[in-house]
């Protein structure tokens, strides 16, 4: 933890945090509407326009760690910019899958990503395995998110609070916020995502531009960066092999729609047009914000305090520029991003528990599903809070988060094949996911970062290759029944018919 030598004013930092939280609660009460069905509770009644979809996706995409871990990467140089590319390429998948994913979602009343997989492969087992992978993969990120809030309170107290006090404060803030996530479901989430997003991404980007125009972290510093900041991993003198960057970016690109909270944003949209226009706006928000933040981080590398502590560089840079007031704004921005991300995780995990897992014994009523989702959210956030407290100094938690990323991308094979191709079957989907995730877990435990003897490929990519092989072999070896062929044709036909250009019947696009 950084010690601040001067300007410690807790009234300013905690005052702004308090103001942020009060306004957030005001937004929740002002927009509160009673859910009339489980679909209403889980996906906001499929009623939101492109700006809401975009802001909600952005909140679920960039966690609070963007301002610590990713900021540190950009302070170090060009490596930090890889996230800009995978974020924008990844969200493009949302555009390409919008038609089928949204149309099937409305037609079959789907509320989660595993719900779509289960419907596509006509298999409850596929749905449950995908749902379990999703929930388990998201869990470490919620724990890390709560712990990040503790770090935030360390800064807000200027290092005067103990680690335990900060952790308790972080847990309390998250638990209080989740009261509304549980009671309001997706509607509350989307409304606060807009509020939080305006602070975390729009205000942040505007602030970074202003600071780049100033004298402390000037834009002109970017043209004087030392040569070592311009070197990408994988080159001649790099400790990584040539496939390291490939693995990072490819994992990010295909992983974007695998994260259940990102995919679920499709179902909150009011239609295919809203998803597609929302994707455009998402690229603007996700890419624009991150690009500006990364340029600011690289320019801030000229601040010796930032260079010495890049993980805390965001807070230090702003404190060095404007004292406690700027630090308070920096904290509120990270708080907004962290809460937005944790909310999205909790909401989707509770929904998946109710919709995908708790329906094993038969269908449930809307009321039962809503109660189960709320219970799932309470258990999920409670468990995460306890684990966050118990594992605050447990470095292996970061490894779990890494495994989770390598694990979640195993959903990509059944997801992408399921939406873009008529081929594939439930046997391949199940066996592929299980083989892929087993390989990813084992290899990540042995090689947490990269696998040197494979040119620095990461474990998830190796798992993914095995997953693909299993899926394709099963697709060719196990022929679908005529009834299944008709069912799948019907699915794709239904999505195609919704794309027929108006006034041009029969002119079907792919």
């Amino acid at each position: 933890m950084i010690k601040f030598s001067s300007g410690s004013d807790l009234t300013i930092t905690f005052g702004l945090i308090g103001l942020f939280l009060v306004l957030m609660i005001a937004v929740l009460y002002a927009t509160n509407r009673k859910s009339t069905s489980f679909s209403d509770y889980a996906v906001g009644g499929r009623s939101y326009g492109p700006w809401f979809v975009a802001m909600s996706y952005t909140n679920s995409w960039w966690p609070g760690a963007t301002f610590t871990a990713f900021f540190a990467l950009s302070v170090g140089g060009v490596l930090g910019f890889y996230a800009l590319v995978y974020a924008t390429l990844g969200v493009t998948a949302m555009y390409l899958m919008a038609n089928r994913a949204w149309t099937w979602g409305r037609r079959f009343n789907l509320t989660t990503q595993p719900d779509l997989l289960g419907m596509r492969y006509n298999s409850p087992a596929v749905k449950r395995i995908a749902s379990l992978i999703g929930i388990v993969s998201v869990f470490p990120w919620v724990v890390l998110g709560i712990q990040a809030l503790a770090t935030l309170f360390q800064f807000a107290s200027f290092g005067q609070w103990t680690v335990t006090e900060c952790l308790i404060a972080g847990v309390v803030v998250v638990l209080i916020r989740q009261y509304w996530t549980v009671s309001m479901g997706m509607r509350g989430l989307i409304m606060t995502d807009m509020y939080q997003g305006l602070i975390a991404y729009v205000l942040c980007a505007a602030l970074c531009i202003l600071l780049l125009l100033g004298s402390h972290t000037p834009f002109s510093h970017l043209s004087q960066l030392p040569p070592k900041m311009l070197i990408m991993p994988g080159g001649e003198h790099s400790t990584y092999g040539p496939w390291y960057m490939f693995s990072l970016i490819f994992t990010g690109v295909i992983g974007s729609m695998c994260w259940p909270m990102s995919f679920q944003r499709i179902y909150t949209a009011s239609g295919v047009r809203a998803v597609k226009k929302g994707t455009l706006l998402t690229i603007l928000l996700v890419g624009g914000f991150y690009c500006i933040l990364s340029l600011f981080a690289a320019a801030a590398s000229n601040d010796p305090n930032v260079a010495a502590n890049p993980q805390h560089g965001w807070f230090i840079a702003l404190f060095d520029v404007g004292g406690p007031w700027m630090l308070a704004i920096a904290i509120v921005i990270v708080l907004a991003a962290s809460i937005g991300h944790v909310d999205g995780c909790v909401q989707v995990c509770g929904t998946q528990f109710a919709n995908d897992l708790a329906t094993w014994s038969g269908p449930r009523s809307d009321r039962q599903l809503t109660v189960l989702a709320k219970t799932g959210m309470i258990v999920f956030i409670g468990a995460a809070a306890i684990l966050a407290y118990l594992t605050f100094n447990y470095s292996r938690l970061q490894l779990l988060a890494q495994i989770s990323y390598q694990g979640i991308i195993q959903l990509a094979i059944p997801l992408f094949f399921g939406i873009f191709s008529r081929r594939g079957n439930k046997q391949g989907a199940i066996a592929g996911m299980l083989v892929g995730i087993a390989i990813a877990i084992v290899l990540t435990t042995i090689y947490p970062d990269d696998i040197p003897w494979l040119g620095s490929l990461t474990s998830g990519i190796v798992g993914l290759i095995a997953n693909l092989v299993v899926f394709v072999v099963c697709a060719y070896a196990i022929k679908p029944s005529p009834a299944e062929q008709v069912r799948v044709e019907g699915l794709f036909g239904a999505a195609q018919s919704s794309k027929v250009p108006m006034g041009k019947p029969g002119s079907v696009t792919t």
């Binding site: 390429l89 311009l230 080159g235 239609g271 295919v272 047009r273 455009l280």
Partner: protein
């Protein structure tokens, strides 16, 4: 312009946009491309070339999606929806 877009066969459009996005994906993923600018201190608009490389790909992705959306809108393939929030 609108007439040209309307007249273009769907297959042509799929190939054009498909090739465009695949090219961007290749530029982002394959080491020979991005390693060719690694360590270069050339400055473009005040920003070092390796940074510009990644920013350009992101920018081109955004422009590509925007162009695709425009084409689909002109062709009437995006159904109007009920009033959204």
């Amino acid at each position: 312009m609108k007439d040209t877009i309307n007249a273009a066969p769907v297959r042509t459009r799929t190939i054009v946009f498909g090739a465009y996005f695949v090219l961007l994906l290749v530029m982002a993923l394959f080491p020979p491309f991005y390693l060719s600018v690694s360590g270069q201190s050339t400055i473009v608009a005040g920003i070092p070339l390796p940074f510009v490389y990644w920013i350009s790909i992101a920018l081109l992705v955004g422009l590509g999606v925007w162009a695709l959306y425009t084409v689909e809108s002109i062709n009437g393939e995006l159904p109007e929806e009920e009033a959204s929030r």
